[in-house]
């Protein structure tokens, strides 16, 4: 049974016509199911838990990066708290222009393509990142200044120039990574990518330095800045990060970035 989770913001009048088009297309493709509209009185965690208990097998997030993050979090949280590995398939229909980087990285550019991809049902099993009690599908970011990292409890990393730290499961910007490195959400490890900038007195002559590590466990310390998870959730440090291997069955497009 298909369950469509509509984020609260898509209930805005400006998306009314678009949602109508989506519903018509999914009916044409024989993918119709139950629609769950999130709101002040209806939390995503409760909705997802209820639907899984009632036998939902395919859950589709209709919204943006935050909707995807929260839906994935709810599915994994349910499986963990009930100690079950019920086979759930997760799909995405992006709505709106902004904050849909995760859908793009999975090869889903817009809603029409998303409906075809759901119909095609190309499933990949991917790893999921865990940051304290939150789960993330794609990546997390924090400012490099004042941040200390401890990898696998063996060694620590200090960053001496201003820059940004990315913790990657599914890369949202794969072209930014050093050309001879590789990142995949199916390799059982997470990647740490650090980009720093050394400023020069001569304008436009600043030097960019890149660092790249692989890890399974990482601790982040920073008293002043928070970690941005999946382009949507802010978390204060200290944060313990680890990987849950092959944890989510996800319906992806042909043009996915892994």
């Amino acid at each position: 049974m298909y369950i469509y989770i509509y984020d609260e913001y898509v209930n805005h009048k400006k998306y009314e016509h678009l949602l109508g088009q989506i519903e018509t297309r999914i009916t044409d493709l024989g993918l119709n199911g139950k629609i769950v509209r999130l709101g002040i009185m209806k939390s995503i965690q409760d909705s997802v838990s209820t639907e899984i208990r009632n036998g939902a097998k395919t859950i589709i997030a209709v919204g943006n990066d935050k909707t995807i993050n929260q839906t994935v979090h709810s599915i994994i949280n349910f499986q963990k708290s009930h100690n079950t590995k019920t086979e759930i398939f997760f799909g995405i229909i992006p709505v709106g222009e902004k904050n849909n980087l995760i859908a793009k990285a999975l090869g889903i550019k817009e809603w029409k393509e998303a409906c075809e991809i759901l119909s095609g049902r190309r499933v990949e099993t991917i790893d999921i990142g865990q940051a304290n009690d939150n789960y993330f599908l794609a990546q997390a970011e924090i400012c490099g200044q004042g941040t200390m990292l401890k990898i696998n409890k063996h060694y620590s990393i200090e960053i001496t120039e201003p820059g940004k730290i990315h913790i990657i499961n599914l890369s949202l910007y794969p072209n930014n990574l050093p050309h001879n490195t590789k990142s995949s959400p199916q390799d059982g490890i997470l990647e740490l990518y650090i980009q720093t900038k050394k400023h020069s007195l001569i304008k436009f002559n600043s030097q960019i330095n890149q660092s790249f590590f692989s890890f399974q466990k990482l601790t982040i310390f920073n008293k002043h800045t928070s970690l941005l998870v999946d382009n949507s959730i802010n978390m204060p440090a200290p944060i313990n990060i680890n990987v849950l291997k092959k944890r989510l069955n996800i319906i992806v497009g042909k043009k996915r970035k892994f």
Binding site: S156, I157, I159, T160, H179, N209, Q210, S211, F213, S214
Partner: protein, 126 residues
């Protein structure tokens, strides 16, 4: 600019960039490029490139290595060790084959593992 620097490997598993200081023992499984500072042992089953601005204050243990930076510690390489003119090594070296460019500074013993020893070692494992 960065990509040019990393022409050394088809695939780099770890890159320790110029603005990075690693404290503790680094144990890797693949190819490692060092441009920053490591205060601890560096051990990998793959190859290592230590660029001219890199500094390592401990031992290096790898399959093969190209050294252009500074090492204060022993260097143990299973296969070939290439020492560039900018390299400065204060410590003992152990490897199977070596090439040293003019200008490199080495203060320490250099021991070459004999071919005979390798043959015996491989036979024992087979």
């Amino acid at each position: 600019m960065f990509n040019k620097k990393n022409e050394n490997f088809e695939k780099a598993d770890t890159i320790i960039g110029q603005a990075i200081k690693v404290k503790g023992n680094f144990n890797g499984h693949g190819n490692v490029i060092v441009e920053g500072i490591i205060e601890g042992n560096l051990k990998t089953s793959g190859s290592v490139v230590i660029n001219d601005k890199a500094k390592i204050f401990a031992n290096v243990d790898a399959k093969s290595a190209k050294i252009g930076g500074e090492i204060n510690g022993n260097v143990k390489i299973t296969n070939h060790l290439q020492i560039m003119s900018s390299a400065k090594i204060v410590g003992d070296i152990e490897c199977s084959s070596i090439s040293i460019e003019q200008g490199a500074i080495i203060n320490g013993k250099c021991v070459m593992a004999s071919e005979q020893k390798h043959v015996t070692h491989n036979t024992e494992h087979n």
